[in-house]
Symmetry: C2
C-alpha cells in the first residue's frame, strides 16, 4: 500500500464530535418527545430511492441537486459506443437508477402509496433522518443535513394546520427559543393575486420571483417581475404585500378588500382565518404567527397552506417550514390523499441554539471515574472493582497501560472525567481507595462500598 | 405530470414502521448505554466519503461493493470521446469521486488522521450509523444496514480486548440474549500455522479459504487449499483446527505443542492467554468465549486478535465481530496508531431478538388519549382540553374531522390507543368527560382534573 496524504472530508459534509452529537441528540430528543405527544409515530425510510421515485417531484432546480448513485458492476454494459453522448444528460438514466433521499416527504408518499391499503388514516408520522442535496456548500448550507418531519396525511381538516403550528411552537419553547416568528400564507392567496393581475397561468413564475424577497429585496423582485412581463400597474396594486405591516386581523381585512374579485383568493383568506380560530380555541393565541402573503416557499409540491419559522435576531434563514400538498400521492398512482407537514432543520436549530447560548451545560456526559493503572497489583485490583462499579450503572474506565500518573491524570482531564481513583501501596495496605476530585484536587480515602454510595449519591443530585 | 405506477423500494433496502423503529431504538439505546458505561464517547461521520479514502482498504472483493456517487453537474466535462472506454473501470475514477460509507472503521481512521494532534489517546469512540454495500440482497443481508461500533485507538494493551469482549457480553445480557458464543482467534496463530506449513507468504490465501468453513464445510475447505497448491500432508497436520473441541486451556495446550516451532504462533497464543486472564480478573470468566483457530474474518485490515459472536440456535450468521488493526491509520499518513474494535449489527440483532421472542411487550408506545370529534361544540371544548392535557406530558390527539363515532373508535383501535374521550351533550350538561377504556369497553365520567390525575397515575405505574 502506498503512503497517502492526509484525507479530507467531502465538501459540504461534517464530522460530529462527542459534544456535537450530544447537542444534536438533545435537539432531536426534544422534537421527538413533542411530536409523540401530538400523536405522531416514527417511520424510517432507506437512504437510497429509485430515481423514478425522486424525479418529477422537486421542480427542475431541485432535481439537479439529487445525488445519483452509479449502477453497480459494469454500468456500461449494453451501451453501444455511439450512445456515448456529448450530452451527459442522455447518458444519466442509463448508468444510474438510484439516488440519495432529497427530502423526507417524497419517501413518505412512496411509503403510503405502497401501503395505503393497510394503513389507518389520518396517518400521522414523524421521521428524523439525513437528506442529501448537491448544492453549492456555503455557511449554514450543507450537502448532508438532518430533517425532522411531521406529516398528517389523509385529512383536509384545517385542524391539522393548527395542530402542527402549535406543535412547532411547543418544540421551540422546550428548546428555550423565544425570539421567533411563524410566517403563514396560503397558495390560494397567491393564486388570487395572480388571477387579479390577469396572470393566473403564470402564478409559478410569480412565486419563483417573490421567493427571492429575503435575498434581493422588494425593488429587485418587482424589477424581475416586470422583466418577466408582468404589468407594472398590476404589480403596483399588490406591491404592499412585500412590506405588509399590522396584526393578522388588519391584514385579513385589507387583503379581503384587495381580493374581493377572486373567489380562490377569498377561500385562501377564509382558510387562514379558520386556522387562527382553531389556534385561539386551543388557548394558544399568544403564538407569534404572522400572515405573510409574500411567502411562497420554493418546493414545487405545496398546493395550499405554507409556513416558515424564522429567528429575527439571527441570519440563518428559516429553521422550519412546511405546508399542505394535495398531489404528491397522485404521482404514485394514489388519488385523493392530501397531506400537511412540518420540517425542522436540526443543523439550523443547532446553529441557532449555539448562537443564542441556549444549550444546557450538562448536555455531554463523560465517564465518571478513571481507575489509574500504576503497577500489576493495582491493575489486578482495579479490574475486579471496575466490574463492581459498573454493575451499579456508574461509567468507569481503567487506564489500559501502566503509564506515568501525570499522563493518566491528563487523560482524565481531557475527557472531562470528574473523578480519578488511585490504588497505591499505602491505600492497599489499609484496604481502601483514594478518590481524587479532578476539579478541586481534593483526595479522600474510601472503602469500595463507601465509594459506590458516594458516586450514586452524586447521580441522584444531578 | 404523468400517472405513475406504484413505486418500489430499492432492492436490499427497507422501510421501518413505527413498531420496527421502536424495536431498533430499544436495541441501539441499550448498546449505547453500555458503551458509555465503558467510557466510549459518540462520533458521527458523513455518509459520503471520497473514494480516495474508501478504496485500498477492504480488499478487492470489498472494494467492488462500494456504492459510487456520480459527480454532480456535467460529469463528462473534459472527457474526450476516445476516453470512453470499453472497460467501465477506466471511466469510473473520472466520473465518480465520492462513495457511500462502507463501514465505520475507515471513517474513524480518516477522522483520527485529520485530528490526531488535538485528540486525547487512547481514543475511545462509539458510532451507530448506517453503512452501504452493493452486495447481492438475500435473506438477512441488506444493502443498507446499521452498525454499532466501539473502537479503542492508540493503545496496544490487551486490556482493551478484554474490555471489549466483556462489554459485548453485557450488551447481550441487557438484551436478554443468553444462548451465544464468542469465538476468539489471533492472526498470529494463523501466521504460525502458515509458517509451519511453509506457506507464510500465502497466509492470506489460506485465510480466504478457511473463512468459508461455515459455508462449505471442512472437507471442501481442505480440497480448495489443496487445489491452491497447499501440501496435503501439511494440511492434515493442522486439519484438527476445523473441528477443535475442548475448553480453552486444553486448546491452548494442544496448540502450543503444534506451534512450538513458530515464534509468531506462540506469541499469538500468549496474547490470547493474556486476554483470558484479564477477563478472569474482571470476575467475568463465565463468559462463553471459545478459542477458535479457524476463525479468520474476511476484512483485510485485521492484523492481530479477531473475534465473532454467534447464536448457535439461529442461522443468521454472526451478530457481532471485530479485532485489532495496526495499519489503518498508516494508510492516511499517521504512523504507530493501533486500534481494536467491536461492531454489532442492529439488523441481525433485531432478527435474533424477534426470533427468540425477547422484545419487551411495551417497546412501542402509542398516543394515550383520543378526543373524539362529534360536533362543533365538542370540537371546541376538546381543543381547549387538548392543550391542558398535553401540558401534563400526556400524549393526546383530537380526531381532525367530525366523522362517525365508529370510524373514530376504529382509528383509536388501530393506533392501539388505550383511551378515548367522548364529549356528548349529556357529558357537557354535567361538565364532565366520558373516558372509554378501549380494551375493556368500560366508561367512566370524570372532571378534567380527575381525568388528568387518573392518566398521570397510570403512567407512574408503568
Amino acid at each position: 500500500m502506498t503512503e497517502k496524504r492526509i484525507p479530507q472530508l467531502v465538501k459540504g459534509t461534517r464530522d460530529f464530535d462527542p459534544v456535537q452529537v450530544a447537542q444534536r441528540n438533545y435537539i432531536s430528543n426534544i422534537i421527538q418527545q413533542v411530536y409523540r405527544k401530538y400523536g405522531f409515530v416514527p417511520l424510517e425510510t432507506p437512504s437510497l430511492e429509485y430515481l423514478s421515485t425522486l424525479l418529477d417531484q422537486y421542480g427542475q432546480e431541485g432535481e439537479q441537486l439529487v445525488f445519483r448513485v452509479l449502477n453497480s458492476g459494469n454500468f456500461l454494459e449494453g451501451i453501444t459506443p455511439d450512445e456515448f453522448p456529448q450530452d451527459y444528460k442522455r447518458l444519466l438514466p442509463k448508468i444510474a437508477e438510484k439516488g440519495l433521499r432529497y427530502d423526507l416527504t417524497v419517501p413518505l408518499m412512496r411509503y403510503i402509496a405502497m401501503h395505503h391499503h393497510e394503513l389507518t388514516f389520518p396517518f400521522k408520522r414523524y421521521q428524523i433522518q439525513p437528506v442529501w442535496r448537491a448544492d453549492r456548500p456555503q455557511k449554514g448550507r450543507f450537502r448532508e443535513f438532518y430533517q425532522c418531519d411531521a406529516d398528517i396525511v389523509g385529512t383536509s381538516s384545517l385542524l391539522n394546520e393548527a395542530e402542527i403550528l402549535v406543535m412547532a411552537y411547543e418544540v421551540l419553547q422546550k428548546l428555550r427559543i423565544t425570539d421567533f416568528k411563524i410566517y403563514l400564507n396560503h397558495r390560494s392567496i397567491l393564486n388570487g393575486i395572480a388571477e387579479l393581475m390577469g396572470e393566473l397561468n403564470r402564478v409559478n413564475e410569480f412565486c419563483i420571483s417573490i421567493d427571492k424577497l429575503d435575498k434581493i429585496g422588494k425593488d429587485s423582485v418587482i424589477q424581475e417581475l416586470i422583466e418577466k412581463g408582468f404589468a407594472k400597474t398590476a404589480l403596483e396594486k399588490f406591491a404592499f404585500i412585500f412590506d405588509f405591516q399590522g396584526d393578522n386581523n388588519l391584514k385579513l381585512e385589507i387583503l379581503s378588500e384587495h381580493l374581493a374579485g377572486s373567489k380562490v383568493g377569498l377561500q385562501g383568506l377564509q382558510d387562514i382565518q379558520h386556522i387562527l380560530r382553531y389556534i385561539k380555541e386551543m388557548g394558544m393565541n399568544t403564538i407569534p404567527i404572522s400572515l405573510d402573503p409574500s411567502l411562497a416557499r420554493g418546493l414545487a409540491y405545496y398546493t395550499s397552506t405554507v409556513f416558515e419559522i424564522k429567528l429575527p435576531s439571527i441570519q440563518i434563514g428559516s429553521i422550519a417550514g412546511g405546508g399542505r400538498y394535495d398531489q404528491l400521492a397522485k404521482n404514485f398512482g394514489v388519488d385523493g390523499l392530501t397531506g400537511v407537514g412540518l420540517s425542522f432543520g436540526v443543523d439550523r436549530l443547532h446553529a441557532a441554539i449555539e448562537n443564542l447560548d441556549l444549550f444546557p451545560k450538562q448536555v455531554h456526559s463523560s465517564t465518571q471515574v478513571l481507575f489509574t493503572n500504576l503497577d500489576d497489583e493495582a491493575e489486578k485490583i482495579a479490574l475486579g472493582l471496575l466490574t463492581k462499579i459498573r454493575s451499579h450503572g456508574i461509567s468507569a474506565e481503567l487506564y489500559p497501560e501502566q503509564s506515568k500518573l501525570k499522563k493518566q491524570l491528563n487523560y482524565a482531564n481531557k475527557k472531562m472525567m470528574p473523578f480519578v481513583i488511585i490504588i497505591g501501596e499505602e491505600e492497599r495496605s489499609v484496604g481502601k481507595l483514594m478518590l481524587k476530585e479532578m476539579e478541586t484536587g481534593s483526595q479522600t480515602l474510601y472503602t469500595l462500598d463507601e465509594l459506590i454510595n458516594f458516586l450514586l449519591g452524586l447521580e441522584k443530585n444531578v
